[in-house]
Symmetry: C2
Subunit: 331 residues, 2 copies
């Protein structure tokens, strides 16, 4: 390596990245430096925009403010976007069940044209996996699976140190794998018994309503109108030692554990990293998940795979993950 002094004029100022994480409900975005510090961030509604064009217009207005506060567009190296069903190869979002925009959306191109900055896009959970590998619980891990348990269930799979993208860029849709044949209907996909229909925040609320109907058991949740029950209220009841609420998490963990066992027997990861709202339930969901994962694993995989909760501050992690894509861009 050359030991010559660096020419100061070659030190680029464009050392910031923009991360955008598009979720079914809201879209988070922020300005991130090389060390993973989120300098500025904000959020807009996704669901509120029936048309992708109006979504991008609002995103542009809001993000431009943050860009100005960070020293202007010239300091931005690029934009990284995580979105459900986002495709790294084509920059498109295709038939995303949880987004308001249907069909094939050339999202990376639309954003790149609007902001005049190089833009790269991937599946939101793939972005989160890269974020974990760069800054979080997966540092120095070459084989792990990231599962995001939010409104939906997403996944990013890393094997041999690389994201599994598949031949078409759509790999890693573990939330849509069928765990209970002929099980619960998923209105977004039209499929029955997928992991997402049980192990998402939405799924936990549905399980709660079902169990309240089937059981005679008294429960704090009976005071809540059915259409107001959500995973947070189930959690609140469970930490009050509510028996039914705890059974709801046991059931959710059982399904999640079975699914994780299948994923382990596919790619034999060192760890599974869980991220998102449901992980706030901690051992209430982790204990049955671990137990049922081990129960369904053949011997050679037992007592090996760590289930970890993401370290990253939740409000930052999605933005960090998306921005991390920018540092991997080719010049």
């Amino acid at each position: 390596m050359s030991k010559a002094k660096k020419n100061p004029s070659s030190v680029s100022l464009d050392t910031l990245a923009i991360g955008i994480d598009i979720g079914g409900t809201g879209t988070k975005f922020g300005i991130v430096d090389r060390n993973g510090n989120v300098l500025f961030q904000n959020e807009i509604s996704t669901r509120g925009h029936a048309e992708v064009e109006s979504f991008i217009d609002e995103l542009h207005v809001q993000l431009s403010e943050l860009i100005e506060r960070s020293g202007g567009s010239g300091r931005m190296r690029g934009i990284g976007v995580g979105a459900p069903n986002g495709n790294y190869y084509t920059g498109t979002v295709e038939y995303a069940p949880n987004l308001p925009w249907k069909g094939i959306i050339p999202l990376a191109k639309l954003i790149q044209n609007k902001f005049q900055l190089p833009t790269v896009l991937t599946n939101d959970a793939n972005a989160a996996a890269i974020g974990e590998m760069m800054y979080g619980a997966a540092k120095e891990k070459k084989d792990f699976i990231m599962i995001t348990l939010g409104t939906g269930v997403g996944s990013g799979i890393v094997a041999n140190g690389h994201l599994i993208l598949g031949h078409d860029g759509f790999a890693g849709e573990l939330g849509h794998t069928i765990i209970i044949p002929n099980g619960r209907f998923h209105p977004g996909t039209g499929k029955y018994g997928s992991l997402e229909s049980y192990a998402s925040a939405t799924g936990v609320a549905l399980t709660a309503v079902e169990m309240l109907e089937k059981s005679e058991e008294d429960s704090l949740l009976r005071k809540v109108p059915k259409n107001k029950i959500d995973s947070k209220k189930v959690y609140d009841a469970a930490i009050e030692n509510d028996k039914l609420a705890k059974e709801i998490f046991d059931f959710t963990g059982k399904i999640l554990g079975m699914a994780l066992a299948n994923f382990v027997m596919f790619s034999s990861p060192e760890a599974i990293i869980l991220f998102g709202g449901l992980t706030k339930a901690g051992e209430l969901i982790l204990k049955p998940t671990r137990e049922h994962m081990e129960k369904n694993l053949i011997q050679v995989f037992q007592n090996k795979v760590k289930i970890l909760i993401s370290h990253l501050k939740e409000s930052d992690a999605a933005i960090l993950g998306a921005s991390a894509l920018v540092w991997e861009m080719k010049d």
Copy 2:
């Protein structure tokens, strides 16, 4: 690159490889040249050897004869072994449910010591996947899944052009993934509802017995004593247009198709390559498999993934796959 003439004395004669494929019932082995021609081959019983040492003794006797006929040990570059639960990193076979030897067996080392030739070992289905990539249906494919439908169900997964081995070398045990929770018991693993318990030759025979008991339908299979029913007899009845026999394949294809859908949503392969005895049933099993795979895929994956039957001559393929490991050995 140098254009100097090759020194003839540097042209090595050790251009043959030994391939050994260890299955639950029998073990096939042969001598293979660089172009994938199996020069000599033979087979011994696996099941007949309660002790691994006596197995290796017989293997040595039988293989030595082929080695002599091929010009002696000096022409052999090494030995590649495919075995259920075989581990590429450690050279061991660990807790293989379908082999007579229990616990952790240092198989590569035992073979290497006996033959005094460098030996590399992997999962039998991983070996088959490498064979398909070098000589078969997966030529020039970078993302595919190989599924072997024999006595058991094995798998080898290739993503980004590389085998997925996992952090510990045990990845790709898709036969043991749970497809029907609380489903059929698998005596080898103690688990319920795995793919292997339905979509193997053993599984088809069990389905036949179950369906004959449950149904009133007349069937050619009713003439066969229950303990003599095997997948071949079900096939023979199905091509005679036996309704119940066709239902057995429909059911098997339904389970296999559901499983394949889950695998596709994991790694989004360009193709799934099927290999082994059950594939002889052709469209009888392929049609329901394809149909139920598509039915369980979310839209973004539909009508994209080819289900192919291995091109390789069945008697050669397992040996070819194992021998292919040798060409990938480092000098």
